[in-house]
């Protein structure tokens, strides 16, 4: 047990073979597997990171889109409001001018009909005066006749006025 001989060399060779075999059969394959797993984990990690970044980008785009839509909505509303305002003003102006025109028309109408009525009345008064004068001249007999004449004249005036009054009111309401 205490002498050194050839067996020392054998043991060295044995050990070298054992180290090589263990490297080939145990350490190399296991390390390969571990490294492959590590690489896969790294890859998956990178992939997950990329996915996250992508999702972030999509989210940012969506948010931008949302804010854009909001802006657009606001613009549309503002535009619509402006348009409506304009429309409203236009309509109101229209209506106002129409009313003015109608009023003017009505005033003109009323003035014309008044003038006509006045002219008519003057004509009639003139006619009546003519008739009265004719009658006065023709039948200057008895006091009773004059009274009857006055009566007749007043009646006629009253009738005229009753006719011309509603005509005038109608023209104003239009």
């Amino acid at each position: 047990m205490l002498k050194l001989d050839w067996n020392l060399l054998f043991t060295v060779i044995n050990l070298l073979i054992l180290v090589g075999a263990m490297w080939y059969f145990l350490f190399k394959p296991v390390r390969k597997i571990l490294e492959a797993r590590q690489a896969e984990a790294d890859r998956e990690n990178a992939l997950a990171k990329a996915k996250t970044a992508e999702a972030e980008a999509v989210k940012a785009r969506y948010e931008k889109c949302l804010s854009d839509t909001e802006e657009e909505r606001r613009q549309i509303i503002a535009k619509a409001r402006k348009q409506a305002d304009e429309e409203y003003k236009k309509i109101v102006n229209n209506a106002r001018s129409t009313a003015k025109r109608i009023e003017a028309d009505a005033t003109e109408d009323a003035a014309r009909s008044k003038a006509r009525i006045v002219a008519d009345a003057e004509q009639e008064i003139a006619d009546m005066i003519a008739i009265a004068t004719e009658k006065n001249v023709g039948e200057r007999r008895g006091a009773g006749y004059e009274d009857a004449l006055y009566e007749q004249f007043l009646n006629e005036v009253a009738k005229d006025e009753a006719v011309s009054e509603p005509e005038k009111a109608e023209g104003e309401t239009e």
Partner: protein
């Protein structure tokens, strides 16, 4: 007492198993044959454990192989340091071999580490590895310069260390195994019951055997680390 010394002598004597019929016959001792058996067992285990390895859905075999490799590598790497990573497989293999060789007495073999040839070979390989690592990592000039550190006076001691280190490695392992064996034989002889030897066997054969394997690798990696850093 005569009987005891006879047993011890017989057990410690390394028998010649056969002769290789060249150069007038080279004797092959029992320790080499047991080493072959241990090698065969280790390689077979490694081969069976790492067969059909997959990336996913690993089997129990693969899990065991990965566990062994990761744990052993982590343990040795902690001792040899980051720079000595290249030596990890060698040191792991030596640890496995010495550990199994030390406890092979339990399985009825004659432990190869009881043969001075085996421990001397291990120590020789260790010191060659240490110096080779020094030359490889530092270059010849720096490696030579390291002998004069920290001061030039200690150069003889440093050179002497190249020889005392493997000697101490070799003798420590050998002495521990032989000592444990002799003590176990003594206990077996003086006690008649089975319980006491069983308890001491746990300490001397199993614990001490594995501890010496660890110490051997620890010292080797310490020398390597010291040399390359």
């Amino acid at each position: 007492m005569d009987q005891l010394s006879e047993i011890i002598n017989e057990e410690l004597e390394v028998k010649e198993v056969f002769r290789i019929p060249i150069f007038g016959g080279i004797p092959v001792s029992e320790s080499v044959v047991v080493t072959w058996i241990i090698m065969a067992v280790l390689i077979l285990c490694a081969f069976l454990l790492t067969r059909n390895m997959t990336l996913h859905n690993i089997s129990k075999r693969q899990a065991l192989a990965e566990w062994i490799v990761t744990k052993l590598s982590g343990l040795v790497e902690g001792m040899v340091g980051e720079r000595g990573k290249a030596f990890v497989p060698y040191l792991c293999t030596v640890m496995l071999y010495v550990g199994i060789a030390n406890i092979s007495g339990i399985f009825g073999f004659k432990a190869p580490t009881k043969d001075l040839n085996v421990t001397a070979a291990l120590a020789l390989m260790s010191i060659v590895l240490v110096e080779a690592a020094g030359i490889y990592y530092l270059g010849v000039r720096k490696w030579l310069h390291k002998f004069t550190e920290p001061i030039a006076v200690v150069t003889p001691i440093n050179i002497l260390e190249v020889f005392t280190r493997p000697l101490s490695l070799c003798m420590r392992l050998f002495g521990n195994v032989v000592g444990a064996f002799v003590i176990m034989e003594l206990i077996k002889t003086i006690t008649r019951n089975i319980l006491l030897p069983a308890v001491f066997c746990l300490y001397f054969d199993l614990f001490d055997g594995l501890l010496q394997a660890y110490v051997f690798v620890f010292l080797t990696s310490l020398y390597i680390r010291e040399e390359i850093e």
